[in-house]
Assembly symmetry: C2
Homo-oligomer: 227 residues x 2
DNA sequence: ACCTGAACACCGTTCAAGT
DNA sequence: ACCTGAACACCGTTCAAGT
């Protein structure tokens, strides 16, 4: 009856930073980082590319904001009542799973500098490290180590899914390919990498990720005694 | 006298993969990752963009090859006669310094997947880890942890120099900016990050990087006993 | 076999003009 | 204040044509 509220192609909600970021996340999740352009985004939002610039500074701002939104969700889903060690382990696994589900978030997180998404993670890791008894003067180095490790894993995962996407191969097939390439390396020059080829096939990403966290955690432990 | 050998604009050496990669490194070092385009590269080589594609598959191939060249130099400069621990520390510092000198290499390394530059590093770290007494079944996870940590630091350094370049600020000023932003965060929601703002100003990148390596190394140590 | 350079199909970003 | 969409200044990559 009411023509005004029927709306054909015209969006009913007005544009907003939140709506833009939400749409960006949908595009990133479905088509990856290369699928997100100001044209694809403005098409999804039924507007022009220029309109987005009223709410978003530039593409880097958009990526950081999209990343921040999912980091916030991940971090808020964490239980607060745990021991420091299990708190760190659970947080790390949460970040890992987040990066697995949203591969673009890994590279976005690394490019975010000291902005909000990093702050959110820092704000969770820090108190756990403090509760572990690490002296204030060493906390920055310790927290950095945990953070850098998580980011390194995430960024490499992101790179791998990117490679897999472009080459029309799945993640597991990509690992198969790397393993095969390694096993064909010159034994004289690359004996170690060759020997790792079979381990690469059998390994469990998530488990190895946690093993790295545990390595750092027990490094923190032994540091406390000799301090 | 001899017009043929005087050569005006015309290059005398013919194009080759090596010459292209060498020129790419020069551009990357002087103008950063965004300065390297097939146009700028072909201009430096006094040829057309299409010519490069006869020797190089695509831009990702070019970046990986450029990265591999400087990783090879770094790794070859390492002394071989050291204890495992100091070997790992020296290698890690070598990689760190390399990434500081060539910020583009950090992101290139991360996007290289399991290709040559990674293999070179693996081939150095692996034997040290083996000599440390880590059982074969745990070596992949251990080597991965070290590698991921190094890549995480490098990629973040790369991102920071990129941010600094685009914003016309130097690296140190960027850190000042982050520190200032952190000290203005809401104390109720971000107390920990706020408290780290001052430490961020005083810290030493290289020292903290090494502290992280040492954390992992002593984690490996304590794992050996409870194994 | 190797090189040339115009052309194609895109990008992020800007900006006069509208409402 | 907010949106439109054409235009600008780029990209990576391809490919017919040359040598």
């Amino acid at each position: 009856m009411n023509k005004k509220t029927q709306g054909t192609q015209r969006r009913d909600e007005s544009l907003s930073r939140e709506r833009i970021i939400e749409a960006a996340i949908e595009i990133l999740d479905s088509t990856g980082e290369s699928g997100l352009t100001f044209r694809s985004l403005s098409e999804k939002l039924a507007t022009g590319p220029g309109a987005i610039y009223w709410h978003i500074a530039d593409k880097s701002d958009l990526l950081t904001a999209a990343c921040d939104a999912i980091v916030a969700r991940t971090v808020d889903a964490q239980a607060r009542d745990t021991t420091p060690k299990s708190g760190i382990r659970k947080l790390a696994l949460g970040i890992f799973d987040m990066m697995e589900a949203h591969p673009w978030a890994g590279s976005a997180l690394i490019r975010a500098g000291g902005k909000m998404p990093i702050v959110r993670i820092l704000e969770r890791v820090g108190p756990h490290v403090d509760a572990l008894g690490v002296p204030k003067s060493k906390q920055w180095a310790t927290v950095s180590a945990l953070l850098n490790y998580m980011l390194g894993v995430g960024a490499q995962n992101a790179a791998n899914t990117l490679l897999a996407r472009s080459g029309e191969v799945r993640r597991s097939e990509l690992l198969d390919g790397v393993s095969a390439a390694w096993s064909q390396l010159d034994p004289a020059n690359y004996p170690y990498t060759r020997s790792m080829a079979s381990y690469l096939l059998a390994h469990d990403d998530r488990k190895d990720f946690l093993a790295g966290i545990d390595l750092i955690l027990s490094g923190i432990d032994s540091g406390r005694n000799t301090n």
